[in-house]
Structures are given as C-alpha cells and as structure tokens.
C-alpha cells in the first residue's frame, strides 16, 4: 500500500468501515487501522479470508456478528448502494430464529420501525385534580389524572435510589480492617529501621449490589406500565449495574434504551422496543426465557431482582414455579412489587401470583408514592436472606426467621453498618 495515492482497494475498505459505522457498529479508528494492516497478510482475492479478517478486526461483540455478515454481503456485492442508506433493512428481523435474543439490538431496530405505539394512560376521573402533595402521596396511580401523573413522574425522576451493598472479595487498604496488610506493615517498618511499630490493615471492598428489573407490561398492568418504566429509568440513572427487562408474552431487554440521558427519549425508545404492549401475560415463559438467556450473564455477585407484576398469568403455572425457584436460588433477594397489593381487599389468589409467592422474599405494593418511598428505604437496607450458605456479618447468628420477624433482623443487621441507616 503506497502512501501517495490510495488504491481503489483501500478506498473500498475505508468505505466499508464507514458503512459499518453508519449502520450502528462502533468501529474505532484503531480497529480500522488494524483492519487495513490485516489486509497485508491475507489473500485479497479470497472473499472468505477478507470476511474473516474483517470480522476479527472490526467486530468486538457477539451480538454484532449477524449485522456484520449481512452488511459484508451487501457491501461486497453492490458497493456504493447501501452506503447512502442510513437504516438497517427491516427484513433482518425475520431472519432471526430461536436465537434472536443474541441480536436484540437488531431486532429492536426493526421493531422500532414496525411502529408500535406507546399506550396512553387513560384518564377516567378528572374531577379530583388535586395537586396537593399530601393527597398525591396516598392516591393510587391508577386513579390519577394526567397532571398528577406528570407530577409523580417528576418526583420519581428526582428520587435518589440506593441499594444495599455487598462485601466483594477484593481487598483494599483501610485504616481499620480485619486483616493485616503485610506489604503496608513492611513498608512502614522499613521507615523505622526494620521494626514493625505501626500495623497496616486491609478489609474487603464494599460495593453496591447489581439490580435486575423485570416489569410486566401486559393488558392488566396497562395503567401502571408507563410509570414503571419511569421508575426503571430513575433506578438505572441513580444506580450502577442495573439491567431492565419488560415482558408480556415475551421478554424484551430495555437496558440500553433506558440509559439514554433524556428521559422522554429513553422512555419512547424503550416502549418502541416492545412488541406486545397490553397483550396477554405469560409470566412463567418470560421468566424462563430470562433465566435461560440472561441469568448467567446478569445474576452474579448477589444481585437484587425486582419483579413488577399483578400476577395475572395466562401461561403455565408449573413453569412459573420452576422459573421462580431458579431465580430465587440465584439472587440475593427476590422482590415482587404488586400494584394491586395496595387495595385492602386484595389477596394473592390469582393462579400466577399464588404459584410465585412462595419463592418471593419481599412482597410489596407499588400503587402510590408512599409505597415507592417504602420501596426506596427497603432497597437501601435489604436484609440477608435466611439461608444456609450466605455469609452472615460477623457477630450475628442466623436462624430461620418468618417474614414477620425479618423486619427486626433488618434493624439489627442494619445497625452494624451505619452506612445503611442513613436513609
């Protein structure tokens, strides 16, 4: 490759990289330089070699592989033709078989094109347009007017969430720790002629637990779904390590959309993602899909899982039980938020709810602002689950506690860590 005049081959390669970028693949300058360098080592006449070399240097995510292959095929057949096209072809979505979960970014694009609309929150009662915060606090979300909902969204957006922490396995130097930091001891000793006068300590680093959010957006949850997304948005912005999913009849990951800065855009993008707004519910199937595809990647290191659903389920309740057990066994705490729980008469006798309940650690209402506050303080100080293999903080003995007794353990455990009582 001469420096003076780029050959048509080089020009084409550069063009190809630009096409990839336009189509949404993040190709860094370094990667494209590598790509050019790689061309020296392969036979440019061999399409296969060019393909694999390009893929190895330009793609660094498994979910981009299919898009890449597609673009490669298009580009080396009719160069110049798709260079101007800014959109990914919508027909791509149809090509994904059962493994489409790996290609969410692609599917999402085309489903966005499919143009499913976000549901409007229906206003049935305009008579009680209260703006009084006190009243707002206790009013059911389902009964609110558009203005009130707007106010609620604003309040949710302002909430600073905190989730209880876990002690990681990583050690950091501390003034007062539980283990000797020999390196530190010797360093200090070397300053004092080799006598260890001062000790140095290390202790385990503390980190916020990962959070996984799963929301039911089926027909029966319609009144709440927009708010739930708002809640998820707020959680993903004030915490690190948050993954969000929504489900009706199938599971959709909305994490990347909710990460957008602008709340309105984030919510619009996330809701466009979903194909089955206000359809039926298959909680068991959706949770099973989560377990199968995502749990190994996301449920690590003591995650806190929040499921928002009313438990109306048209699916297989045996599967739901299995999926719930699987989920419970792999997370630090499984919290189920049910908007119907706010009503006094509500009893969790719906088949789905009844099947899921035995595996739930905390069954909480989310129907008004007050309940959200409760949720916030609960998340900030999640108690350890009464289970054999979770390590207890020092000095506390664990026993099998009933739900009613957990509250008191919570206070007792919380007091050992003042950080968690600040709220």
């Amino acid at each position: 490759m001469s420096r003076a005049a780029p050959s048509p081959v080089v020009e084409n390669l550069v063009l190809f990289v630009r096409v990839l970028r336009r189509s949404g693949l993040a190709v860094s300058v370094g990667q494209s330089v590598d790509f050019m360098r790689a061309m020296k080592w392969i036979d440019l006449g061999e399409r296969d070699q060019v393909f694999h070399a390009a893929r190895a240097t330009l793609v660094s995510r498994c979910e981009d592989l299919d898009l890449f292959s597609h673009l490669f095929d298009l580009f080396w057949r009719v160069p110049g033709k798709i260079a101007g096209a800014r959109r990914r072809p919508a027909s791509l979505a149809l090509r994904h078989g059962p493994r489409s979960s790996r290609n969410l970014s692609l599917t999402s694009f085309s489903t966005a094109r499919a143009g499913s609309h976000e549901p409007q929150v229906e206003l049935s009662d305009r008579s009680g347009a209260y703006s009084d915060l006190e009243v707002l606090q206790h009013k059911d979300f389902g009964a609110m007017t558009e203005e009130e909902l707007h106010e609620v969204r604003r309040l949710i957006a302002q909430t600073r969430w905190r989730v209880s922490q876990r002690r990681t396995r990583r050690m950091v130097c501390r003034q007062r720790g539980e283990r000797l930091d020999l390196r530190g001891v010797l360093r200090r000793a070397s300053r004092r002629g080799g006598t260890a006068i001062e000790l140095a300590w290390r202790s385990r680093k503390v980190k916020q637990r990962p959070v996984v959010l799963l929301a039911d957006i089926s027909g029966s949850m319609e009144r709440y779904s927009r708010l739930v997304l708002q809640l998820f948005y707020s959680l993903s912005h004030s915490l690190r390590d948050v993954e969000s999913f929504v489900f009706g009849t199938r599971l959709t990951r909305v994490t990347p959309h909710l990460r957008l800065r602008n709340a309105d855009r984030a919510l619009t993008e996330a809701s466009r993602e979903v194909l089955d707004w206000s359809g039926g519910t298959r909680i068991g199937e959706s949770l099973h899909a989560f377990n199968r595809v995502w749990s190994r990647r996301i449920l690590r290191r003591g995650a806190v899982v929040l499921i928002v659903s009313d438990g109306w389920d048209r699916g297989n309740s045996e599967l739901l039980k299995r999926a719930m057990r699987f989920l419970r066994d792999r997370c630090h705490r499984l919290v189920w938020l049910n908007p119907l729980l706010g009503s006094r008469r509500y009893e969790p006798i719906v088949a789905g709810m009844a099947a899921a309940l035995p595996f739930v650690d905390d069954f909480l209402p989310v129907h008004n602002l007050r309940s959200l506050e409760g949720l916030a303080s609960h998340l900030a100080s999640l108690p350890e689950r009464a289970r054999g293999f979770v390590s207890a903080p020092r000095g506390t003995r664990r026993s099998n506690l009933r739900t009613s007794e957990r509250k008191s353990t919570m206070a007792a455990l919380g007091s050992t860590n003042p950080r968690e009582l600040n709220r």
């Binding site: 392969i42 694999h52 050690m171 010797l186 690590r300």
Partner: protein, 297 residues
Amino acid sequence: MSESTRVFSSIETTFEVLKRHQYLADVGLSTSLHLALRMEKPLFLEGEPGVGKTEVAKVLSRALDTPLIRLQCYEGLDLSQAVYEWNYTRQLLAIQAHKGGGEADTVDIFTEEFLLRRPLLQAIDRSRDRAAVLLIDELDRADEEFESFLLELLSDFQITVPELGTLEAEHRPIVIITSNRTREIHDALKRRCIYHWIDYPSFDKEVEIVRRKVPGLSEHLSGQIVAFIQAIRQQDLYKLPGIAETLDWAQALVHLDKETLDAATVEVTLGFFLKYQDDIDTVRGPLVEELLERASG
C-alpha cells in the same frame, strides 16, 4: 521473523498446524489466530462453555514449544495474585538477620530477590529466550477493576513495581483471553484484541473431533452421539452441552462397550452432558425417544 509467524505463516498452515495438534478449527478461527500472531495482538475468544477456547492456548503452546502461563480469573483477583507480591516472610527474616550485623550498612528488602512472580509478571520475564503463551482464562469472572489493569498491560507489556521500577518484556507474550460471557467485558479491552466468537461446530466437524479425540468409537456410534447432542442443542434448556460434554459422553459410552445408542443408555448417562437437574427433568422420558429417533433418522 518470529517463531510464531514462522510456524503459523498463513491461514492454511495455521489450520494444518492446529489440526496436527488435534485441534480442528474452522476458517474463521484460523484467520483470527493467524492475524493475532501476525499483528502481535491478543486473541479474545468468546463462546459458550465447552467449545474449546482454553484448548486453543494449550495447542498453541505445544505447537510453538513454548511455556504456557495460565492465569485463571476469579472474583477478587488482584495484583498480588496476578502480577507480583513481596515475599514478606523472607523480608522479615532478612531484617532480623541483619539486626545482628553492623550499624552502618542497611539492608534493601525491596529487590528482585524478594519478589514473588505471579503469572502476568512471569509472562514478561526477560530471562526467557522466546515469547511465552499467556492464557488469561475466563476473564469474565474477574472484576472490572482487574480489566482496567489488563488494558494497561496489554497496550505496552510493561509492569511497574513501585519499589523496583518498570519491568518490560523482551519477547511480547502471545496472549489468549477467554470469556464465557457471564458478563460483558468492556469494549475498550475487546477493541485492543482480535475478537473471535467460537460457535458450536457443524455436525461433520463435531463427528471428526469425536473420532479424533475418542479412539475406539465406531463410526456409527459417533454419528449417533453427535446427532443426539446437536438435537439437544436445539432444545429449550438452561445449559446446552458443549464439545467437552460430547467428548465426555462419548468416552463414557466407550467404557460401557456400547455399539449403538438406545433410550435406556441415554437415560442413565444424561448427567454427562446435562448439568442442571431442571434440564435433566425436561429431557428425560419421551423427549429422549423423540430425539433418538431424530438422531438416527
């Protein structure tokens, strides 16, 4: 020209050399490996468990006749386990021993002689006469903090020990990083590497792998085994069997002196390729029959 580029001089030879060492790659992997060696970049291998990611590094070290330095990642992995640690006991002893000596001279306890070299430091050791293969296995298990350290190491292959100064590699190690994808590795790291996703092999390829790795298996049975496993991979399971599981199972069937696959045998050996009780429950019974039929049909 270095040893690695001489042995793996083209994509075809890469494929052949791997094959000679009992590793059947596809053209994608051969290309990625060839380029990684040529361009002196780390090779980042991702894929489901048991598709032969770690094996690539082992084969590479055998083919190049160079030591394999393996760093198994785990949560909490830190510099003292991955890079270096001071030998405190010896340092303390040195101080003690010195106390009897004269007042004037001092003892330096931060020299190379007190340094314990962990895998990453070993990999850039200057005393080596050729590049080692450095395998950073299951990087997804380590924390993000470790990743950012790695980023620094992989860009210039030097390590700074505050008490000693900067140590730099004479022969850059050949780096293979693997990940099971239990979490996303940061893009910044992946971009510095040649990325390759190892998929499950095709039927023919898997049969060939089984035939090579499990001697004493009839052609008929190996075909049945692979067809069955490939049918299992189409099922809705928590954990799909990898090639490692296929090989384990094939080995087990050889020990059981089986000539052909039948439902009863499959039932009692399900545990060789299914690792979740839920999955075993799903497959056991009528599904076994159905898959067997499909496998022999």
